[in-house]
């Protein structure tokens, strides 16, 4: 239930903030902030009470699970579950949520109540996406996070906001539709084969599909996730949306929305269709490597600060695509760290770009220069996160990129060398940020203030996290380990599956795992949920 509460609290907080915003603008900010802090305390409490060293196991293992029937006629459950992977991502969601509320404190003055409603509902949607274990519920939350984001860009964005908002919506909706078709197809194929019509992830996991079915259905999922990620050539929505969105919107887009794409691949595309996913993995890796360099190249060519940072996301998400499909422990753990590190470092760069824009009313880097003298605190933070972005050891992005490249080297040497040249490209654009914005001669007489207390706290928190990721990544690696091992299983078992050609075996395997899990739970005298009881009865 605690998982449902995480989402419900945010939704209620959003409604309250909307109402409060009609009377008092400050109140809606505090409501949003307190709502998120409550959620943050909850998730951290869960994390701390489940110390990281989860035993390596070969079965899906949930720290917390919650199921209740939602639309039983169609086999739709309200099924949430938490494991190491989404624990990390939900924590990131709430953390960046807090950051985006704080960063909007003075930036957003019009319709502040509705603004915070949108922020909280986006976050609720994202949390739901990370926690869902029912495909219908997953798609529901997938939509919940889009619509408020559309408003966020369209109402509070910059000059070209309506165009950007439409572009964002059409890209994600069109690709989301493909995914929904795949979900429905999977639902019916599974229902026809077993007689049980359900959207439950764990049951659908073992659906027996012919090779072509599996491939088509996977494409539906994969395209939705690749658009979200985004992978080249599905990326053109990103620079527009990121640039035009208000700062909070950019932080959430880059830090969180992109991660739902990566998470979707890890949680759905790979486990549901392992053979097809493995079949396309060489191509996916190539597109990942292209994305790394193409994104970096475009970033280097920009003069708009936010647009530059937006393109660096394309580059960094290329690493995620490369690592995900490399399919070994090194690369996948690197992907987990990259999701966090990119969320923090890019989020921070957007915050910096936003606070500069708030002060000097431009994002054009050719008009900046010499800002170090004016805002040394901000410049220092800018330096640190630019360095994170170029992968300096000691900061989170390095751990991620090193692990991903070391992992992909074991799969493809040529591709890794190609991708590693992205390390040089990232140096070019990161140093350009410093050179054009903070160094050099002043182009105008600025009269601006350095970071205030509010911004200091925000930056300080992000610096602590990015350094922690770089120096003690083991905290996160331990938490994610069992989830990563579960995903890895799909890669390692590919050979046996291909050889025997038996899909049923896989199906059986999954069921046995599930039974084992429940048995273990029972032996640990834990209380089974109603849903588990049903499954258990059916299996025995």
């Amino acid at each position: 239930m605690i998982l449902a509460w995480l989402i419900i609290i945010m939704m209620i907080g959003g409604l309250l903030a909307w109402l409060a915003g009609k009377w008092n603008v400050l109140m809606c900010r505090w409501i949003a902030l307190i709502t998120l802090i409550i959620d943050f305390i909850i998730i951290i409490a869960i994390w701390v009470s489940n110390p990281g060293n989860i035993e390596i196991s070969q079965k899906p293992e949930w720290l917390i699970e919650f199921t209740t029937s939602w639309i039983p006629q169609f086999g739709i459950d309200f099924h949430l579950a938490l494991d190491g992977l989404n624990l990390i991502l939900v924590s990131l969601t709430i953390f960046l949520g807090i950051i985006s509320v704080i960063t909007s404190w003075t930036e957003i003055t019009e319709h502040a109540g509705f603004f915070h409603f949108n922020i909280l509902w986006i976050l609720a949607g994202i949390t739901g996406v990370f926690l869902s274990l029912d495909l219908f519920l997953f798609y529901f939350f997938w939509e919940v996070m889009l619509i408020p984001m559309y408003f966020l860009i369209g109402i509070w964005g910059h000059e070209n906001r309506v165009y950007a908002a439409f572009k964002f919506l059409i890209f994600t909706q069109a690709s989301g539709l493909l995914m929904f078709l795949s979900i429905l197809a999977l639902y019916f194929i599974h229902g026809k084969a077993t007689g049980v019509y359900t959207f439950d992830y764990l049951q659908l996991l073992g659906t027996s599909l012919s090779t072509s079915e599996s491939f088509i259905l996977m494409c539906g999922f994969l395209i939705a996730f690749l658009v979200k990620l985004p992978a080249v050539p599905f990326h053109p929505w990103l620079p527009d949306a990121h640039t035009e969105a208000p700062t909070a919107g950019s932080v959430i887009l880059a830090g969180l929305l992109l991660k739902t794409g990566a998470y979707g691949i890890l949680r759905y595309a790979l486990p549901l269709f392992p053979q097809s996913a493995i079949a396309v993995s060489p191509y996916a890796m190539v597109f990942g490597a292209i994305g790394i360099l193409y994104g970096a190249k475009l970033a280097f060519a920009q003069t708009d600060f936010k647009r530059l940072v937006a393109y660096t996301s394309v580059s960094h998400m290329g690493f995620i695509l490369l690592g995900t499909f490399a399919g070994n422990a090194l690369a996948l753990q690197g992907v987990v760290v990259q999701m966090l590190a990119h969320g923090i470092s890019t989020g921070a760069l957007f915050v910096i770009a936003g606070s500069i824009q708030e002060r000097i009313h431009t994002r054009d880097m050719t008009q900046m220069g010499g800002l170090w003298q004016e805002v040394p605190g901000m410049a220092g933070a800018g330096l640190l996160f630019s360095l994170a972005s170029l992968g300096l050891p000691g900061l989170g992005n390095f751990v991620a990129e090193f692990l991903i490249l070391a992992g992909s080297y074991q799969v493809s040497i040529g591709l890794t060398i190609f991708a590693a040249s992205g390390l040089i490209a990232s140096t070019l654009y990161s140093l350009m940020i410093m050179q054009k914005v903070f160094y050099g001669k002043k182009k105008k007489v600025w009269n601006i203030k350095d970071l205030g207390v509010r911004e200091m706290i925000m930056m300080g928190a992000m610096i602590v996290v990015i350094v922690w990721l770089g120096v003690f990544p083991q905290t996160f690696l331990n938490t994610a380990r069992s989830s990563v091992n579960n995903i890895l299983q799909h890669f390692t078992s590919r050979n046996t599956k291909v050889e025997t050609g038996s899909v049923d075996k896989n199906n059986l395997f999954q069921k046995i795992n599930f039974i084992n899990m429940i048995d273990e739970k029972r032996s640990n005298s834990m209380i089974l949920t109603g849903h588990e009881k049903i499954i258990l009865r059916r299996e025995h």
């Binding site: 422990a329 490249l405 390390l423």
Partner: protein, 626 residues
């Protein structure tokens, strides 16, 4: 005592953190106290730990200390862990001790700068990371230090960031070294693939037991690591960033771009000597690159007019000697030259800084002159360091370190007459350009008035380093002079001794005399051409050859055309991402189709009737025909 090892890098790092957070609010005395003090304690600790290490050596002549496991994935388990042996001890000593002296100097040198605390923060961070680099027990931590010192170099070259040229130089340094670093990173991926570890000692062990000597795998790995070393140590073809790096303050040039960071490549090759031993082609490449670099950079130094640029090219050239030593298997001598070079080159930069400050930021040596009387301490210390750089026979430390390298480039079993000849020419050029500098700055008539004389802290630093530039040589005497060599004996616990070609051992003295005579001849030549007979050199300055050498042999020109312009061109084209046009086209197409369909809705009955009839006719025709 050894358990305090971690404090050596940790203290300067703490200094950095405090300065970074509170530096803005501290007064200059406090900043200097913190900045200098942290490195000072670190240097003291190094000496104490060194004494402890030498007096009661631990098992296996090395000491390991693990602070925590950095990451642990499927058996791949690099730690934040240190490895102290004779090699890393010598480097740590040189870094912390020379670093400490330079910090003392900087406390006075930078006193009028508005970025005083920022300067010491960066310098402390540099010392911490450089020590981490040499103490690292695995390649990943080494890489952290490696990139970290590159960062500090970038920050300190661009320290006076208001001048765009400085920022440009800083970017250049970072990007060029990063190219080498990427090659090294790929080397690390290769090592992870083959050994699933990055522990240096383990890897060297495995290389010597599992790999075949001369196998392409060993050669490839060695070359990938060498790429990193070339970038960091400014060797051909990645040397172009170092002369520009002189945009930073003089203490930075002394510490980072002369004494320590640029020798990281030397450390890396010495540290992985087993690997290079297993890859003879790579080791030959080290020797050849070193020889070529020392020659080219030496010639370039000959034509420079900016005092710091002369020293920069000289540094490239001297590191070339270290590479040559490593390349012919004289590992310990490469390290010896590193240490002596750290003393005298740091001194040269610091003295040059004092001169530049005294003359109102004048960098051109031919506008100096006659400073012998005005700045006696600077003059004498600069002279001693110059003598050491030129390898003045018998009394200077540089003689003992360089002379041996020249000898072994012939006598080593993988040496050759060519390498010997090049290193000999290099030695001759070195003494010419060094004393050209001395004559131009301190002799002749005074051209610029002295505005500011160095104070106590600068003078003390110069004198201590001058003493080391002389006395440092006596810990390593050649065979012909008694062979008292505690330095190499100490290092041989880590590095193998050089293997000689058997028949050559008798003629060492002859070789030494040739070298000594050439050095003295070089000094005389400098005296003739740059002091007595300046007209000839004036004419030489106008020649194309001189201009070619002045530009660093055209490497910048070439790289601009081969890489930079294409990169900028490539960045400019497709700035707006052509892929976007594909989607714009889809949008356009939909709108266009929509427009066409709208046009059919005219609202006229006659039009609708015509279309219906035509449609019926066409449909019927199709049905009938098929």
């Amino acid at each position: 005592m050894l358990n305090l090892l971690w404090l050596i890098p940790a203290l300067p790092f703490l200094g950095f953190l405090l300065l970074a957070v509170f530096g803005g609010r501290m007064n200059k005395t406090g900043v200097a106290f913190l900045g200098v003090g942290s490195v000072g304690i670190s240097a003291l600790l190094t000496i104490l730990i060194g004494i402890d290490f030498i007096s009661s050596p631990p098992d296996g002549y090395s000491f390991n200390q693990t602070l925590w496991v950095w990451m642990n994935i499927a058996g791949f388990k690099p730690g934040i862990a240190f490895h102290l042996d004779s090699l890393s001890l010598i480097f740590t000593f040189a870094i912390s001790f020379v670093g400490f002296l330079i910090h003392i100097y900087s406390a006075e040198f930078m006193i009028d700068d508005e970025g005083y605390s920022r300067f010491f923060a960066y310098m402390n961070l540099f010392v911490a990371l450089m020590i981490t680099l040499v103490l690292a027990d695995n390649f990943l931590l080494l890489y952290l230090g490696w990139e970290g010192v590159g960062l500090c170099s970038y920050l300190l070259i661009g320290f006076w960031y208001k001048e765009p040229a400085n920022v440009y130089a800083a970017n250049k340094a970072f990007i060029v070294t990063r190219i080498g670093d990427t090659s090294m990173a790929i080397g690390l991926f290769l090592l992870v693939l083959h050994f699933n570890t990055l522990d240096i000692q383990n890897i060297l062990q495995s290389v010597s037991t599992q790999w075949v000597r001369g196998s392409s795998l060993a050669v490839l790995t060695a070359f990938l690591l060498l790429g990193g070393a070339l970038g960091k140590s400014a060797q051909l073809p990645l040397q172009t960033w170092l002369p520009d790096a002189m945009a930073g303050p003089s203490p930075v040039s002394a510490l980072i771009h002369a004494a320590t960071m640029v020798t990281a490549g030397v450390y890396l090759i010495a540290r992985t000597h087993t690997l290079f031993d297993f890859a003879p082609i790579a080791q030959n490449a080290v020797a050849t690159i070193g020889a070529l670099t020392l020659l080219i950079a030496g010639f370039s130094a000959l034509t420079q007019t900016d005092i710091k640029k002369v020293l920069a090219y000289s540094t490239i050239s001297q590191i070339g000697y270290m590479f040559l030593a490593l390349g012919v298997g004289a590992w310990a001598l490469g390290i010896f030259h590193f240490m002596i070079h750290a003393f005298f080159k740091a001194l040269l930069f610091l003295a040059a800084g004092a001169v530049i400050n005294a003359l109102h930021h004048e960098h051109n040596m031919f506008k100096m002159g006659g400073l012998r009387k005005e700045l006696p301490v600077v003059y004498w210390t600069f002279l001693i360091a110059s003598a050491s750089l030129a390898a003045f026979p018998l009394i200077t430390a540089g003689f003992y370190s360089k002379d041996e390298i020249i000898w072994y480039s012939w006598a080593s079993n993988i040496g050759s007459p060519w390498l010997w000849l090049i290193s000999l020419i290099g030695a001759f050029i070195t003494s010419v350009y060094t004393f050209r500098m001395v004559f131009a700055i301190f002799f002749g008539e005074q051209k610029t008035p002295v505005s500011q004389k160095p104070g106590k802290r600068i003078k003390i630093t110069l004198i201590v380093l001058a003493a080391l530039s002389v006395l440092g040589g006596f810990v390593e005497l050649p065979e012909t002079m008694g062979g008292f060599a505690p330095f190499t004996h100490f290092l041989h616990h880590t590095l193998p001794a050089v293997a000689l070609r058997s028949e050559e051992s008798g003629i060492e003295l002859l070789f030494q005399i040739i070298t000594a005579v050439l050095t003295l001849a070089g000094i005389y030549l400098a005296y003739q051409f740059y002091f007595k007979n300046v007209k000839f050199t004036e004419r030489f300055k106008q020649t194309g050859l001189s201009k070619f050498l002045f530009s660093g042999c055209g490497f910048d020109w070439l790289y601009d055309r081969a890489f930079m312009y294409p990169a900028i061109f490539f960045a400019r084209i497709n700035r707006n991402d052509f892929i976007d046009n594909i989607y714009t086209f889809i949008t356009w197409l939909s709108t266009a189709l929509n427009g066409m369909l709208i046009k059919t809705q005219t609202g006229r009955i006659r039009w609708y009737a015509t279309v219906i009839t035509m449609g019926a006719v066409i449909t019927l025709t199709i049905v009938l025909v098929s």
